[in-house]
Subunit: 347 residues, 2 copies
């Protein structure tokens, strides 16, 4: 926030983490603020989104997106203010969503950029409940989970940007909703504020037993964004014909290597076969065509107070590495956002 | 075949196998042929179906069906002749499909029994291409696999009762079809007789490399009836949005125990997420409502010569244990059937 107006601060990927990332994997760099050429605009980053998928981009291996190269600016979506524009239709002061990465200023040609409607709520919501996490929850739950009234829906990371929306949409659809979250404050929030029926604390012992007690009729939809011990606890409770949208696997993101020995795959496949489960992976861009419906439904639900959304905002671009590391450990509480420059709509 | 007409021979489950079953797990018993009471009919078993699922019924653990108890007649479907009937609509000499288990004679109240139309072909086809294996292939491939023209479909156990039909229906749907089978004679049959584009021999070394060479455009549908090393070879080749109907896991059926250590589940789940795969288990009874469509389509395809079906028939009920053991090792060649008594339609 203290950066000079002539200096562009950037956070680069300095090295690839072997397992859990550390601050040494990042490097703060300073460059000149670039000048927009013809057909370009200069953007000032206001809010930077931090999301679990960023851990995957720090790896060299192929995934559904290219990795960040060493020395490159870390990738990420942000809400920006247009400082100067040579693009018709974009004007100084416009608030836009863009894929700027972790930096204070950037140039854009308008591709992968869209204007944000300030009337919909805080402009940071474009990174959360009106953005990628919200559409992820909406599209994954409704298209793959297909929750029916009276069914039991389980979601981990229940206080997070995606999980909190999954559970509330499941409640709107008449389901019994069981959250899983880490620690008593988050569990209380999930139950009391978000209105889940139960929230189970995965930091307490005997998760499997407590989850079983929380799901007396089994589990019909498990929204998978964690993997690991949570999936182990869920698997025996899944009912016949249960649906498992596979959205994320944060438990494995920092695994330094995957074992090569005998495996548990038979157990998982047997469950899929015998219980006729559907495991289906998805990525939010697969459902881009549902964005308009999503915004329409979400606007109504927020207006009616049926969806609540918690943000966890930290000031200062320099804190992004530490906050991503905390996010990957579940130490955030709500949608994690870095405030890189003052929000002009709140001045 | 040499049984006296007053003696009913039965094969009982004598003990539960720890891993691979042996003939000691079965016991031949002789009882009197029962007399049908009111509302009952006496059936003479002509053809007994042997299927991989029978291995699962020999275990004590819960599955989608109850286990066979020790001392009980082994379960199984068969084609029977009605010897004597006290049920209206069933008459001596009728040929019926029934769940008699492994025995020469049995009583039926007509439930779970249906008459077989002799005009459709050999009456044994009711256990194969017109029966459970055929409907399994048809329903699993079309409902879950959803093959599109030009896509690549891979099926293991390609010369078997299910796999052979899967591949031929995929060909009818305009797909490139790659079979996997054990040994040169089966592979030749799959390619030359069934018309698959390629067949890869899983008994030769470097299955993964050869499968990759056989699938230059990747894999869009993998019909899973094996698991194990075949799945390991398939997984890296799956394309984005590939569909995997999970029909069977014969590689694991005789695993004496599943390891408890670190596992490969992360690899499988990562593939599901990153490639947006759909793994979906199913059991043929889930698609019972499609039986009429299936019979209609299959009759046409057989008549047109677009589907061929190979049977592997062994005479003598006493050979059923040995033949089930061979089936579980992939030593059958075509749909495995035990001929328990002479086929009256072939006399």
């Amino acid at each position: 926030m203290s950066a000079q107006q002539t200096t562009n601060r950037q956070i680069l990927l300095a090295s690839r983490p072997g397992g859990e990332p550390s601050e040494e994997n990042f490097q703060l760099a300073e460059t000149e603020i670039p000048k927009p050429g013809s057909g370009q605009m200069l953007l000032r980053t206001i809010y930077l989104s931090l999301d679990p998928y960023m851990r995957g981009r720090m790896n060299a291996g192929p995934s559904y997106a290219s990795p960040v190269e060493i020395g490159e600016v870390m990738v990420g979506q942000s809400v920006c203010e247009v400082v100067e524009s040579n693009i018709p239709g974009y004007h100084q002061g416009n608030i836009v969503l863009a894929a700027t990465g972790w930096q204070g200023y950037s140039l854009s040609d308008g591709a992968e950029t869209r204007k944000i409607d300030r009337l919909l709520g805080p402009i940071s919501y474009a990174l959360g409940v009106f953005g990628m996490p919200g559409l992820t929850a909406y599209a994954g739950l409704l298209n793959i989970g297909k929750p029916q009234p009276g069914e039991t829906v389980v979601v981990a990371a229940a206080s997070g940007a995606v999980g909190s929306v999954v559970g509330q949409i499941a409640k709107i659809n008449g389901c019994r909703v069981v959250g899983i979250a880490g620690g008593e404050p988050k569990c209380r929030f999930v139950k009391d504020e978000l209105g889940f029926d139960v929230c189970v604390d995965h930091r307490q012992p005997e998760l499997a037993d407590r989850l079983k007690a929380a799901c007396p009729d089994g589990i019909d939809v498990y929204f998978e964004n964690v993997g690991g011990q949570v999936l182990d606890a869920v698997l025996p409770l899944l009912n016949n014909f249960a649906r498992i949208p596979v959205c994320g696997l944060i438990a494995y993101y920092s695994a330094s290597e995957l074992p090569a020995g005998p495996d548990h795959v038979p157990l998982l496949l047997r469950a899929i076969l015998v219980k006729r489960l559907t495991f289906r992976g998805f990525i939010v861009v697969d459902y881009a065509s549902q964005f308009a419906d999503f915004i329409s439904d979400m606007t109504r639900w927020l207006t009616e107070g049926r969806i609540k959304f918690r943000e966890d905002i930290t000031d200062g671009l320099e804190n992004a590495p530490r906050e991503l590391i905390r996010l990957l450990k579940g130490e955030n509480f709500g949608k994690k956002i870095i405030c890189v420059a003052p929000d002009p709509t709140r001045l």
